[in-house]
Amino acid sequence: MTNSTPELEDADCILITGSNTTEAHPLVASRIFKAKEKGAKLIVIDPRRTQIARYADLFVRQQLGTDVAWINGLMHIILREGWENKEFISTRTEGFEELKKEVQNYPPEKVEEITGISKGDLRTIAETYAKAKKGTIVYAMGITQHITGTENVLSLANLAMLTGNIGRLSTGVNPLRGQNNVQGACDMGGLPNVYTGYQSVADEAVAKKFEEAWKVPLSRKPGLTIMEMFQAIEEEKVKALYIMGENPMVSDPDLHHVEKVLKKLDLLVVQDIFMTETAKLAHVILPGVSFAEKDGTFSATDRRVQRVRKAIEPLGEAKPDHEIICQLAQRMGGIDFQYDSVEEIFREIAQVTPIYQGITYQRIEEDGIQWPCRTPEDQGTLFLHKDQFSKGKGSFFPIPYRQPAEQIDQEFPFWLTTGRIGFHYHTRTMTGVSPSLQKEAEEGYIEINPFDASELGIEEGEAIKVTSRRGEIQIKAKLTFGVGRHVVFIPFHFVEGAANILTNTAIDPVAKIPEFKVGAVRVEKVEERMNA
């Protein structure tokens, strides 16, 4: 997030898109309700009428995968009406003319045709957000899990910069991260192209710094992303995969393919706390520990680095994950993998990571600190881009609208979108064995509009067949006006009737995120057996 979670409550206009906030990020939703009570305008743009959408001053559904179009459309209206923040544009940004030229191509009539959002609604949204003193944008995977994910995010950034809604309290562009430490995994260099703190592996100076710190020569060649890894395994270029605490056998698109690929490996090692679907395919499984059995830090979605504290000893022979890795590293000849405590690891992180440099365990003893925090005196950063963007001026990127990778047709006439529900978490490894959560949602389901259901003769609770170009599943129907006509939604958590048997592997060329949010499927009644 460019800004902090608590700040949201003082915004005067909140635009939520691609986030089912109450279910996926309840304690962020909590701030949004507070803001609303203080008089903020709430706009929700989502294919599903989510719980929070019921509280919106304006809720509109866009056609799946048309985000760039409506965002360009808003900017078109803003520029036509002169609602842009001219001072911000001239002093803080570059590339405005190119953006202006591009958004000329998105008059409301055309945008209405592409996105299904009416001209009137577009105007209201543009006016409300542009005229807000503290307008903030909140989004989640509904924006990123598209082949145009990066373009969607850049478009939202364009919109924020155009109206000057960034670099101040309670404004900004705020992605809500799905997992407790996604932010931290990225910050720590759990990415193929960067070391900790987003320092590029291809940058000579950076590489030299790390070579000095770690006392070994290092590769300048960026590595493979997860989707590229699977490709490379298929081509037999990657022979061994080590997976620590992830379950791609439920979370990845096109599961049939993932299974086939993982089985090709010469060595698959899985380090986890449960026998996950992925672990079942491993050659070696190493038992890690849960958050209750270890010390360390997590970085929350608003860049807040906070302590995790050990409450009990590891169960059985399980070991804290860092210990397992350090032992492997040492056995393979690694130097400097002898740490007396996790705090010692953190000190090393701070040394090599400018944005974490000022953070110590002592300083986060009581409360977390938000990075960047560069010196011992630095109080951390509530919101980013205060006086300038990290690279000086903020660049506008002119972005043309592109259709999603898959379109509906006669054979596959329904749009499929996927997501989370509030009672489960990711692949259900933990929530599936938590009685209080499992009881609330024991099995998967598909949301379908009652009108569509009626046309197909489908009733509430009936098991139906859903087919895509990748595969087919049977799943219970849940009739709800939450989804529009010809759109169906499946929560991705469940192994039985896994949504990701259906989803498309088409990926965003930059972020390499698969297009989970748009697919084409056929929905059918299951033919009853004669003798049934």
Partner: protein, 268 residues
């Protein structure tokens, strides 16, 4: 709070109690802790801003250590909760020793508390009762239709975290009506409304000790306490009964406590 601390120390040293449940400063934050040694008491805090459901937490501890007498620091509301828990056999008579502390007038006012003190305090001035029902009156001024809309709009925010129940120091049923699939459909955000919240309100009518922890725990800002205050008021007007007041008086809606509940009960 020196006198109270002295008393706690004496109780531990003289083995009047095996331990005392209270708040301790822990990495800068007041958190529940079971003091077993006198020297640990230097970290004891009587924090006003951060109340935890100590009496409810005590159920788990007492259930595991049935022969021990355990002390507990209580404010007015917590003493009322103790009364309810003892009355309903969730804690055992004689196995709990309450040590009372007074609330400041500021806290009493903020809580709109009409009994901001336990029966006995070691030190300090007790606050004057704050008899303030303006929060209720504000809603009751509305027409029936508007009132319904008001509550439906509030309940619609519910994310079914069960926080209002989990934190409630007068909630202890081994099987919870809110989780009975015959009454309320599993899943759903929001849950089935208004039935989910009305169920709870009815259930709390002769048990709610009006501590307000439920409302503090609601991440969605639903004013659930107003609802419970309303039903509690009805019970008082109709039956003259006040939960948490007398240990030997059963609630008018009470068909429990007739032996069908086995000791020890299971608080959530």
């Amino acid at each position: 709070m020196d006198k109270t601390r002295e008393k706690m120390k004496r109780m531990l040293e003289e083995k009047e109690v095996s331990a005392i449940l209270a708040l301790r400063r822990n990495h800068g934050h007041p958190t529940p802790f079971l003091f077993t040694k006198a020297e640990e008491l230097k970290d004891w805090v009587a924090d006003e801003a951060n109340r935890y459901p100590l009496t409810k937490l005590l159920i788990k501890i007492a259930r595991k250590h049935q022969s021990d007498v355990i002390g507990i620091i209580v404010r007015g509301c917590e003493e009322r909760s103790l009364v309810e828990l003892l009355k309903n056999f969730q804690l055992r008579q004689g196995k709990v020793k309450a040590i009372g502390i007074a609330c400041s007038q500021e806290l009493a006012n903020r809580c709109r508390c009409d009994q901001p003190f336990p029966s006995q305090v070691e030190e300090g001035q007790v606050a004057k009762p704050a008899t303030d029902f303006s929060d209720l009156e504000e809603i009751e001024k509305l027409t029936e239709e508007d009132r319904f809309q008001y509550w439906m709009s509030q309940f619609g925010k519910c994310i079914k975290c069960y926080g209002c129940r989990n934190i409630c120091p007068a909630c202890f049923c081994p099987t919870c009506t809110l989780e009975d699939a015959n009454l309320i459909k599993p899943g759903g955000m929001p849950p089935e409304i208004p039935i989910f919240h009305l169920h709870k309100a009815y259930h709390m009518a002769d048990r709610c000790i009006d501590c307000g922890l439920c409302e503090e725990a609601c991440p969605m800002g639903i004013p659930v306490r107003r609802l419970y205050r309303r039903v509690k008021k009805s019970v008082k007007d109709l039956f003259g009964y006040i939960p948490g007041e007398k240990e030997d008086e059963k609630g008018p809606l009470e068909f429990l406590g007739d032996g069908s509940y086995e000791l020890p009960g299971a608080g959530k």
